[in-house]
Every structure is written in structure tokens, then in C-alpha cells.
């Protein structure tokens, strides 16, 4: 264990002292832990660490290979950036929750067995839910509860799957399930595990928790949330289910699902949240395709996505922090007062849209190229269309209505410096990855045989994106944000819960009332009467008989006692009388 320090421990144990620190010591500490964790990850050697046995099962606390390292690196980088962004907060609770959240995500990434994975999985759900609750106010509390309930349900499904998988295979070690497909296909347990995983990956129809909760989280909390939950899900899917055909189609649908909803969205962070759904769709599709290039594409796209999506959430968060508004219908004209935020946000927007020299270009295209190499024309076309939609919303619509467009004369300024620094860090990485993709490619699980910067590929991307911009300019009138919300699959449990409450409050409560009425008006008097009659019978009848017999015996005994005179002559006389009586009886009986 000397050559391996678990970064999850650094974060989770490191969270303990935070409430006791203050001022610049706390700030330094908040940056020190992620920096140490990053060093720990970079120094890691592949291998298995922390093997043990628990309840008769093999436990493997940490299994380190290239796939886990690439996710761990971006998670720790993101933790550092997120901490810089949240440095101005005075509330230690959010820092503690963020630390536990990051630590749990890293715990999942290194988990070598399902029990370890499950523990950290639930830790993530609770720590991240805190980041919603701490925003306070009715909508956040309600969204937080929905978030928690969905994740607990997903966790129960996952646990059921784990147990059932363990019973079927005899091992709880975490590894590729899809490989078992050749001998008899996936069992019920494996499907339950898959459902648990794709719930956290926000695959429709299990996606609504994400777009419901993320916009309600705190400004800084949403930045962490955008990075960890869905990407740990991508990681576990890449580990357990590469090459699962179902995922290709779910991922492709997701990519379009997100961009379609993004057109309708008015809340700036909900729009970005729908783009998480869309972008994770590429990763899921890549995992489903399952070739080396596709899994590389998914892993690298997750890496790039965490950074640019955090940058976008940080930009939108900065606007919310400064103006207190989050609806596009209420924003506009901020470019004059927040030019740095605009510029940094746009770096994220170009990265997510896969402009050449930005990170998305070198990662997203790998997934699309892998789909092409796997002869999936429909998937290629759908994912390319989703790319166009991504630029349309995060690159054009959102910044246009947030920063340009109608000037609402909002009082605004640049956000605190630590927020700008954090955005700057993410922006530098977005560009660095885009310009020099080789270091990232070197981290990927398989050797990379892909060159993003070919003339045809660059021109193809530019053509796609700039003519999307033409569509935006021509149809801007159709894109005006509207003061509405969009129905998603959360309708089923939000309305379902309401129907359940109605059922409980109306028919069930009425039935209960009727039953209690009947019992009060008819059943209870009857019972009382019967009880009284029983009491009378008991007192007057049974007790009287028992008492009578007892009295008779007592009296008889008293009388008999008088015979005992204590005079010997009386007893001799009695014996004589008895002897005579016995003789008489004997004679009579003999005859």
C-alpha cells in the first residue's frame, strides 16, 4: 500500500477538518487536498490494492488501470478547478459535501468489487443531494427530495442487480459483464446493474432527475454535479458493458433528445443540463459500439466534457451569482459589463461544439469516426446532427440571449476573481487539449490510431458549424425564449406522486373515515353492550356460583371442625359407632 494512496481517502478524510479551519488557511487547505490527490493519481502504478475478504466475498478496494487513471486524473483536476470556483464561500458545509462527493466518485472509479462500488455510489448520491438542499427555498428542497428519491431507487435496483449477479457468478469482482454475453447472454442481475448505471448516466427515460435538480443546485454545487455523477456512470458502463448493442441506440437517442429539449428551455442551467444528456449520449454510444477506438473516444470525450461543461456551468453560474436571474427571458445585454465571462464562456461553447483547436474537436470526432469505422451510417448522421444542435444552443442561443440580445439594463459586474480564475483554468485546458491532443490520447485505455487534424475533417466541422450559425441567424425569430417549462419524464413521478397523494387523501381517507364511522356508531356500542352483559354474567352468574360453592365448603368445614372436640372418650365413642356402622353395612352387603 505504500506506493498507492487512495485519493478517495484524501478527499473524504480531508473533509473532516474543513469546518474547523477559517480564512486563508481554509482556502489553502481546500486547494492543497485536490493538488495532493492529483499527485497521488499521477504517481499511481497499475495494479490491485487493498484485497480483503468480507462476508465471504473477495473485496478489492482499488483496481488501477489506464481506464481508471484517465477518469481519476480529470476528476481530481476538476475538483481543483471547482474548489477555486467555490473559494469565496464561507459556508463550510458545501465544501465538505463537495469533498465527500469527489471522494466518492474517485472511490467508484477505483472500486475493484461491487460492494465497494455500491458504498461509494450511494455516498455520491447523498453528498450531491446536499448541494441541492443547501440552496434552500421551496423549489430546491423539492427538487432535492426528488433527486434523492430517484437515486435511492436507482441504488436499490443496482444493489438487487449486484446481489443477483453475485449469486449467479459467485463473484462480486467488478469487471466486464458484456464478455459473458457469449455464454448465454446477460442475466436479470446484469440488466438490473445496467439500469442502475444508466440511471446515473441520465439515459432517457431515466434522465429527468438531472435536468430537474442541477438548475436548482447552488451556483458552485452545480459545477461539481455537472462533472461527477454522469461521468462515473460513463466510467462504470465503459468498464462493465462495452459492446452492448442497446447502448449504441440509447446513446444516439440521448444525443438528439438533449438538443431537442434544449430548444425549448428557458432556464440557462437547465439548457446546459440538457446538453449534458446530449453529450453523455456520445459517450454511451461509443461504449455501445465497444471497439478500441470507440471506447477511447468515450473516455476522452468524458475527459474533455467534464472540463468544458464545468466551464459552461461556471459561466452561467457567474451570471446567476451577479444578477440573481436564471431565465433567458430575463437576461440580456450583459456583454458590456461581463466581457471576461463572455469570452471564457465562449471557450467552453466552442469546446462543446467541437470547433477545431478546442477540446471537443479532438474527442467527439473520435466517437463519430469510430461509429463510421463500425459502418453505422445512421448513428454517424444522428450524432453529427446533434453536434449542429449543440452549437446552436450552447454556442449561439444561450450566449446570445444571456449576454447579447435585448439589453435588460441589469446591474452586473464581473464575478469574484476566484470564479474568473477557475473559469480561466478550465478554458486553458479546453484549448490545450484541442491544440495538443497527444498527451490526452496517451492516457487513453487503448493505443490511439486517430488523427483529428486532417483537412477534410477540419473543413467538415467548420462547414457544419458555420452553416448551423447561418440557420441561427436566419431563424432567430423562431428561437426567442419563452416563459415556459418543458414536460419531461419527471412528469410521471411528479404527477404520479400527486395522484398517489390524491388517492391517499381522498378515496383511501374517505374509506378509512367510513370504516371508523361504522365502528363508532354500530360496532363499538355493540361491543360495549356485549362487554357489559359479559361482566354482569360474570359477576352475577359465574362469580355467584363459585362464591356459593366456596361459602358452602367453608361453612361445611366449620361445622365439621366442631366434631373435633379433643376429648379422647368422644373419639373412642365415634370409633365404636363407626365400627358398628361398618359391621351393619358389611352384614347387609353380605346378604
Amino acid at each position: 500500500m505504500t506506493d498507492f494512496i487512495h485519493p478517495a481517502l484524501l478527499f473524504i478524510l480531508g473533509a473532516l477538518p474543513i469546518p474547523f479551519l477559517s480564512g486563508s488557511i481554509r482556502k489553502a487547505y481546500l486547494l492543497l487536498i485536490p493538488a495532493l490527490a492529483l499527485l497521488a493519481v499521477l504517481a499511481m502504478e497499475p495494479g490491485s490494492y487493498g484485497e480483503a475478504r468480507f462476508i465471504g466475498q473477495e473485496i478489492l478496494i482499488a483496481k488501477v488501470d489506464k481506464l481508471s487513471i484517465v477518469f481519476a486524473i480529470v476528476f481530481t483536476i476538476m475538483a481543483l478547478i471547482g474548489m477555486v470556483y467555490a473559494l469565496h464561500l464561507t459556508d463550510p458545509g458545501q465544501h465538505v459535501a463537495a469533498f465527500v462527493y469527489v471522494g466518492s466518485a474517485l472511490g467508484v472509479v477505483f472500486a475493484g468489487d461491487y460492494l465497494t462500488l455500491y458504498l461509494f455510489w450511494e455516498g455520491m448520491a447523498f453528498a450531491s443531494a446536499y448541494l441541492v438542499f443547501v440552496q434552500r427555498g421551496g423549489p430546491a428542497i423539492r427538487a432535492g427530495f426528488r433527486y434523492l428519491m430517484v437515486h435511492i431507487t436507482g441504488g436499490v435496483v443496482l444493489l438487487g442487480g449486484i446481489i443477483s449477479h453475485g449469486l449467479a457468478t459467485g463473484s462480486l469482482l467488478f469487471g466486464p459483464i458484456a464478455e459473458g454475453l457469449t455464454n448465454g447472454g446477460m442475466g436479470v442481475g446484469d440488466y438490473l446493474i445496467l439500469i442502475g448505471f444508466i440511471l446515473n448516466a441520465a439515459v432517457p427515460p431515466l434522465n429527468a432527475w438531472l435536468t430537474d435538480a442541477y438548475p436548482e443546485a447552488t451556483v458552485t454545487g452545480a459545477v461539481f454535479m455537472s462533472a461527477f455523477t454522469t461521468k462515473t456512470a460513463v466510467y462504470v458502463l465503459a468498464r462493465a458493458f462495452p459492446g452492448t448493442e442497446l447502448l449504441v441506440w440509447l446513446g444516439t437517442i440521448m444525443a438528439l433528445y438533449g438538443v431537442i429539449y434544449a430548444v425549448l428551455e428557458n432556464d440557462c442551467r437547465r439548457l446546459l443540463a440538457y446538453h449534458i444528456v446530449s453529450q453523455v449520449g456520445y459517450m454511451i454510444a461509443g461504449i455501445g459500439i465497444g471497439t478500441e477506438m470507440a471506447v477511447n473516444g468515450s473516455a476522452s470525450h468524458a475527459f474533455a466534457h467534464i472540463l468544458y461543461k464545468a466551464l459552461l456551468f461556471m459561466g452561467a453560474g457567474a451570471v446567476i451569482y451577479v444578477t440573481g436571474r436564471r431565465k433567458l427571458t430575463e437576461l440580456g445585454g450583459l456583454y458590456k459589463t461581463m466581457p471576461l465571462t463572455v469570452a471564457l464562456y465562449m471557450v467552453g461553447a466552442f469546446a462543446i461544439s467541437a470547433f477545431p483547436f478546442f477540446s471537443g474537436f479532438v474527442t467527439k470526432s473520435m466517437v463519430i469516426a469510430a461509429a463510421g469505422a463500425d459502418h453505422r451510417a445512421l448513428v454517424v448522421l444522428a450524432l453529427t446532427m446533434a453536434s449542429s444542435g449543440t452549437f446552436l444552443h450552447t454556442g449561439l442561443k444561450l450566449p446570445y440571449f444571456m449576454f447579447f440580445g435585448t439589453d435588460r439594463k441589469l446591474e452586473a459586474r464581473e464575478p469574484p476573481r476566484n470564479m474568473l480564475v477557475a473559469m480561466g483554468m478550465a478554458a486553458v485546458l479546453c484549448i490545450a487539449i484541442g491544440v495538443f491532443p497527444q498527451p490526452l490520447y496517451a492516457l487513453l485505455p487503448y493505443p490511439v490510431d486517430f488523427e483529428p487534424y486532417t483537412g477534410s475533417h477540419v473543413m467538415e466541422s467548420l462547414g457544419l458549424l458555420m452553416f448551423t450559425a447561418l440557420g441561427f441567424v436566419l431563424f432567430l425569430w423562431a428561437l426567442d425564449p419563452e416563459n415556459t417549462i418543458s414536460l419531461d419524464t419527471d412528469w410521471f413521478y411528479r404527477k404520479g406522486a400527486r395522484a398517489f397523494m390524491w388517492l391517499a387523501e381522498r378515496p383511501l381517507a374517505r374509506y378509512e373515515q367510513a370504516v371508523s364511522n361504522v365502528s363508532e356508531t354500530a360496532a363499538l356500542p355493540l361491543l360495549h353492550g356485549a362487554a357489559r352483559a359479559g361482566l354482569r354474567l360474570d359477576l352475577a352468574g359465574i362469580d355467584a356460583v363459585v362464591n356459593g360453592i366456596a361459602h358452602s365448603i367453608l361453612n361445611g368445614g366449620g361445622r365439621l371442625r366442631r366434631l373435633q372436640t379433643g376429648v379422647v372418650t368422644h373419639y373412642v365413642l365415634a370409633m365404636l359407632v363407626g365400627l358398628i356402622a361398618a359391621t351393619v353395612v358389611f352384614v347387609v352387603a353380605w346378604r
Binding site: 449542429s388 473543413m459 458555420m466 417549462i485
Partner: protein
């Protein structure tokens, strides 16, 4: 410098040069697409110059109108107090 660039995209006074620059970029892209060397084309459309421009524009328009159709006609968009 950043402020100047951002102002260029926001201020009304730059509307004309902005539009000209945009259309110039579009033309350059289409022209360049005809000149670029296509080493291997996986699908038929890969070998068509200008395909990505057409597909990007069509995707954009399709996404806008399909989404708005779903929002308005199918009824995905609701008043903000829908769940209250």
C-alpha cells in the same frame, strides 16, 4: 483586447462589418471544401464537397422546428406553474 472582441459581437455599430465577415467566412468555407483533399470517404456523402454545410444548415432548421412543434403542438411546453 477581449473587451474589444466581445464588443464587436455585441455593439450595434459593428452590425455591418459583422455581417460581412460572417458571409465571407461562409463563402470561404464552401470554397475550401471544394479544394480539400479527401483521402478516404466512408460514405457517399463524405465525398460531396459542401455536404457538411448543407447538412449543418438542414440539421439546424430541422431541430428548431421539430422542437418547437413538439413544444407547442404536442404540448411539451407548459406554463411555469404547471406543477404547483
Amino acid at each position: 483586447m477581449i473587451k474589444r472582441v466581445v464588443d464587436f459581437f455585441g455593439d450595434e455599430q459593428y452590425a455591418r462589418p459583422r455581417r460581412r465577415l460572417f458571409y465571407l467566412v461562409l463563402v470561404l468555407i464552401v470554397v475550401a471544401d471544394f479544394l480539400v483533399f479527401r483521402e478516404h470517404a466512408e460514405y457517399l456523402w463524405d465525398s460531396l464537397p459542401g455536404w457538411s454545410a448543407v447538412y449543418g444548415f438542414a440539421s439546424c432548421v430541422l431541430l428548431i422546428f421539430v422542437s418547437k412543434f413538439l413544444g407547442h403542438r404536442v404540448g411539451l411546453m407548459r406554463r411555469e406553474d404547471y406543477y404547483d
